[in-house]
Each structure stands twice: as C-alpha cells, then as structure tokens.
C-alpha cells in the first residue's frame, strides 16, 4: 500500500509543498501536520522527506486523524508523499 508509484500521483498538483528533507522522525510528521493546517479541506499537500520511514508513518497518521494518504513516489534521493486533507 505504501510507496506505490502510480500515474495518478504524477498528475496531482499539490496545493502546498512541505520540504522536510534532512529531518529525522518526528520532524516530517510535525511539518506535515503544520502544513496541513494551512490548506483547505480536500486540498493536497506534498511532503518531501529523506527519511524512508516517513511514508509509512504518514499513512498511519492519515488513517488515525482522518486525512487521505494518496501514496508516495521516489524522487532524486527523497520521497514525495501525497496527502489529501480530510478534516
């Protein structure tokens, strides 16, 4: 379920990019939560992280708090993680 690159993700335009590259856990999670509060319901944020555990953690966070984890794609040395604001 995680880190599956699909054509859909490549076509998504995020409302906001949150660059958490270089941060270790829980940095990317906290940045995602902070960034999510700045976009409207239904909007997508794209989180950049060099921590490989981030995509798994963000999926768990999204399920718990009511956001939609859309997936992640690998970029050049980091992951692009897509989350839609659900609440």
């Amino acid at each position: 379920m995680n880190a599956v690159a699909t054509p859909d993700l490549d076509t998504i335009t995020a409302e906001k990019i949150v660059d958490a590259r270089g941060a270790a856990c829980p940095g990317p999670l906290l940045e995602a939560k902070k960034g999510m509060a700045t976009v409207a319901l239904g909007s997508v944020i794209e989180l950049w992280s060099t921590d490989p555990i981030t995509k798994t953690d963000i999926a768990a966070w999204s399920a718990k708090v009511g956001h939609e984890f859309l997936g992640a794609v690998e970029a050049d040395g980091y992951d692009r993680v897509f989350i839609r604001r659900g609440k």
Partner: protein, 131 residues
Amino acid sequence: MTSPLSIVLFSGTEDKLHAAATLAAGAAAMGRPVNILLQYWALDAFRTGQIGKGHRLACEAEPGAPADAASLPWVETLRMAKELGEVQIRACAGSLDYLKLDVSELDALVDSAGGIASFFADAGDGSITFI
C-alpha cells in the same frame, strides 16, 4: 475521548529528554492530549537559560555517543508539539521545593507548577510512562 499520554519526566539527560519529546510530539500529531509532569533532574533541564544546553547522557549510553544525533533538538520538538497539539507541561511542586526553584525560573514551555493530584486528574485511568 482519546486517553491522554501521561509522562512523568524525571531524567534530565539529553537522550531521555529527546525520547520524551518525540513521544509527546507523536501523540500530539495523532490528536492525543499529552500530560507531562517534570520532576527532579528534568525540572533542572528546563531552567531558563539552561534549557537545551545540557550534554549529559543516561548512564546506559555508549561512551562517545552523540548527545543529539537527530536533526531537531528536543526543545524544538517539544515547542512544535505544543504548537500543533494539546500538550500540558507541569512542574512538580515538590521537586521545585526540593531544588529551591520557582516556576518563574523555568522556560515558557512549562505551563504551570502543579501538584500530583492535578497530574493524576488529567491522566484519568490511562497509563503513566516514567522516563
């Protein structure tokens, strides 16, 4: 209602403060209230002007281990947790007395001084983690 994460933070070593801050931040991000009671050496680590400047590690740490290997220092992790979630940090009144400290001498991260009953009242029937 989600039960709070209740932590008694006793240790003032950087590694244990970091572990506690990470737990608090994770719980806050997941929408869980966090209830922290600072006692003894943790209290000392929150003194204004002193906070975040310690380099001591727990006795079980490997010799030469980095004091803070992660990118975000524990103080900043806690600050973000408080910004993003419901995190209450109390200074144990008994420990303040023992260390001859006043709550006004502590960093603004600390919300108030409090007794043990207030801590347990907030903890409810949830478990308590001692660090």
